[in-house]
């Protein structure tokens, strides 16, 4: 099992940015009224945010990061690591993390790298960043997680268009001896790589049934193993923040894990499935005030393209969370 322990790493802040343009599932002309109602009821998604072609992944992540760094009042010269998790970089070469290092005014002493991950991407990115900081001399890092996934969808594809949405997020991390250990449990099954895929020159395709089957089968044992390894019970969790896939799948997982509904926030209705960004986005949008003013033990769980999935236990306190940024 790929368990990772990361002691003494604090999440100092989380921020998120979305495009201002809203698209509604009530306006899907290819579906009958009855089918639209069933779609909205099943996915839980009413509206989505769509980035125009002029807004890229790095634009959304930059907006989130710039605001967060200003609110934290961090000296940008102290940031030693930047990781960008995305499947929709601005350009193939070089990685967009390099563009963002420059654009954000980070020093040349900062290492930067891209991580190609989808719906499990926040858990993978956070585990990687926290692991780096916990086991090195790095003191401050910036994890940027976002996608303009709507840019790679076929406009008539009803298996993807009503689901996906665009967002960029930033998470600031720092070494802090007073912080309790975080724990992660990461898994992969490349045999399921066709469930969600994009071939060169084509749009992204998704086999909804395969993804649903995978989610029902794999997420619950992964989460239970993480809780057991961390020695944390469901009762001890303040919140469980899941990748926002669709309401039917997420609620099935929640019920199987016997997590009370009030501990599981959703942002699906207004913002849809923002790919790798859903977890930090939901933390900011739904729990902003509580994360800023109190200490919380949170489970996070991401699952999807790869197939990749993973979960983690985080201890969050006095976390700076700026208000959601909307970009035109």
């Amino acid at each position: 099992m790929a368990f990772l322990r990361a002691p003494h790493v604090r999440i100092a802040g989380i921020s998120a940015a979305v495009p201002k343009q809203v698209s509604s599932n009530h306006e899907l002309t290819a579906l009958s009224t009855e089918s639209k109602e069933l779609l909205i009821q099943t996915t839980g998604i009413k509206t989505r945010r769509i980035a125009p072609s002029s807004i890229t992944t790095s634009d959304l992540c930059f907006a989130a990061a710039d605001k967060l760094l200003n609110d934290l009042n961090w000296d940008r010269n102290e940031i030693e690591v930047l990781i960008l998790v995305t499947q929709t970089p601005d350009q193939p070469i070089p990685g967009s993390s390099m563009l963002l290092q420059n654009h954000l005014g980070l020093p040349k002493t900062c290492m930067a790298m891209d991580l190609n991950q989808g719906c499990a991407g926040y858990v993978y990115g956070l585990a990687t960043m926290m692991g780096l900081i916990a086991t090195s001399e790095l003191k401050k890092g910036l994890l940027l997680v976002g996608d303009t996934i709507t840019h790679v969808l076929e406009k008539d594809d009803l298996s993807t268009i009503p689901i996906f949405s665009d967002a960029g997020t930033a998470t600031a991390l720092e070494f802090d001896l007073s912080v309790k250990e975080s724990l992660f449990n990461l898994q992969t099954d490349g045999e399921g790589c066709d469930a969600i895929h994009q071939k060169k020159g084509e749009s992204m395709k998704m086999n909804g049934h395969a993804v649903f089957h995978f989610g029902l089968k794999e997420v619950v044992p992964n989460v239970n193993a993480t809780l057991e390894k961390a020695g944390v019970s469901i009762d001890e969790l303040d919140y469980a923040v899941f990748h926002q896939a669709n309401l039917l799948l997420n609620e099935s997982i929640r019920k199987k894990l016997k997590i009370p509904a009030e501990k599981v926030p959703y942002t699906l209705a207004e913002f849809g499935n923002t790919s790798c960004a859903t977890i930090p986005f939901t933390l900011v949008k739904s729990l902003r005030t509580e994360l800023e003013n109190t200490s919380k033990t949170c489970l996070i769980s991401g699952f999807g393209v790869g197939l990749s999935w993973g979960s983690g236990i985080l201890h969050l306190s006095n976390c700076v969370c700026p208000e959601l940024i909307e970009m035109e």
Binding site: S32, E34, S35, L38, L39, T42, S159, G208, H209, A210, F212, H213, L216, K217, L248, L249, S252, K255, K256
Partner: protein
């Protein structure tokens, strides 16, 4: 205390009907707009109540609720 699961067809039928406000037909070819969403709702309901995960391939082979119910009972007895 273990609660005995009602394994009857009538219970299964009522469970599925409840998801669709009683509009779900027993024979799948009579279900209006038998869509992916409806199929996923049925899969989710079966998983929640019977702890049996039915694949899309298996769902496609099923003719009606009776055959699906028989498949569930067979999986539970394995």
């Amino acid at each position: 205390m273990l609660v005995q699961m009602d394994q009857s067809f009538s219970f299964f039928q009522s469970l599925i009907q409840a998801q669709f406000e009683g509009t779900f037909a027993n024979s799948f070819d009579k279900v209006s707009e038998w869509t992916s969403m409806q199929s996923l709702i049925v899969v989710s309901t079966i998983d929640e109540h019977y702890d049996v995960l039915v694949s899309h391939e298996t769902m496609k082979k099923m003719q009606d609720l009776e055959s699906l119910h028989a498949h569930i009972l067979q999986q539970r007895s394995n």
